[in-house]
Symmetry: C2
Amino acid sequence: MKIYDRPGFPNAARIRIVLAAKGLDSQVEFVPVDLIAAEHKQPDFLARNPSGVIPVLELDDGTLLAESTAITEYLDNLDGNPVLTGRTPREKGLIHMMQRRAEAELLDAVGNYFHHATPGLGAALQVHKSPQWSGREEWGRREGERAVRGMRYFDEVLRRHDFVAVDQFSMADITVYAGLLFAEVAGLAVPEECFALREWRVRIAKLPSVKDRSGQALVAQDLRRLGIAA
Amino acid sequence: MKIYDRPGFPNAARIRIVLAAKGLDSQVEFVPVDLIAAEHKQPDFLARNPSGVIPVLELDDGTLLAESTAITEYLDNLDGNPVLTGRTPREKGLIHMMQRRAEAELLDAVGNYFHHATPGLGAALQVHKSPQWSGREEWGRREGERAVRGMRYFDEVLRRHDFVAVDQFSMADITVYAGLLFAEVAGLAVPEECFALREWRVRIAKLPSVKDRSGQALVAQDLRRLGIAA
């Protein structure tokens, strides 16, 4: 299998955590995609994924899988023991519900804030992000507010439960964690009073499959290269 | 099981098609939600689904499942033969990829167009749709253009394949079909030249599990009640 991605970016982190959790790291060849140069918006990459986003998984038979949820479904089911996406109908339902909320209310909202209300990933990429639209920055700021509301929602959930969806670590935890990684890069702070979300984050960061897989140092490097971060 | 929904609306149609395809119709009690009166934005409903959208599935043990993908995962796996969400890791991956694209590029884009660039579902609901934001209509129109690009993408896929994701009817077909139902209500036409998408739509509409389950007559009634449609 090949994974086209860029370590340090939130959806790349999601799949790297899945690979580690499933013990599949060594079976994958990673192919780097230069997001700063907007390589994922060029014809070669778009032929692999018309949505123009990373990561993409290429199977040995040439099948291409995009979208982190889909890639996670594939990888998690290979061994017949889908601990991350659910082993029973009820687990599958709960994990997919919280996974979708984590994308819609947190990760996607942070992404919209980052790309529309901040300098994002710099000039080469910004041309692909509707610069000509006058309402763009206001929309981006509203999305940032929505992301913070998402954090408060997950904080409430985590005041009552140890994990986001079911009583063990799942795809939904990975997505919330990636959302918080991205929020940090984008400059959206987790509200002080969200103590359950903060405590959960510290706990998740220490899991063997999560530790050292966020690649945040690389993102910081990219942003410095672009003159966006100090 | 109970389903909280409103027949005729796109996500309600998705789950009603799933129930029919799985032969589960008779095991469900439907509880109507008055979307026109914004019942889904009131405290009673929000306690069941904080995202404030239909449908919601309530299991006999009280578990609440929202998000159509999650409800579909639950229902499709009950009999151990998940034909709609994928029986192998590869099928699961492909179906979830195309399902996500169908939501992001078509169904959600149509919804954003409908609620922001048209009168949507009338005054009671529109207060929940950011009326105070000046960029709203322009954003809605851009989302409408994105939905039409989504139609062109699925047309291309269907020029090469009989179904959206795998070689049989799946969750991804249901979501694209619901997206086209919604587009019709919202007044977004499928481009003339998208002949493969149009042909597929006619074929899908005749499937026993799809026929008569769209509830479009009811939506037309609602819109007439609101004075929005003739």
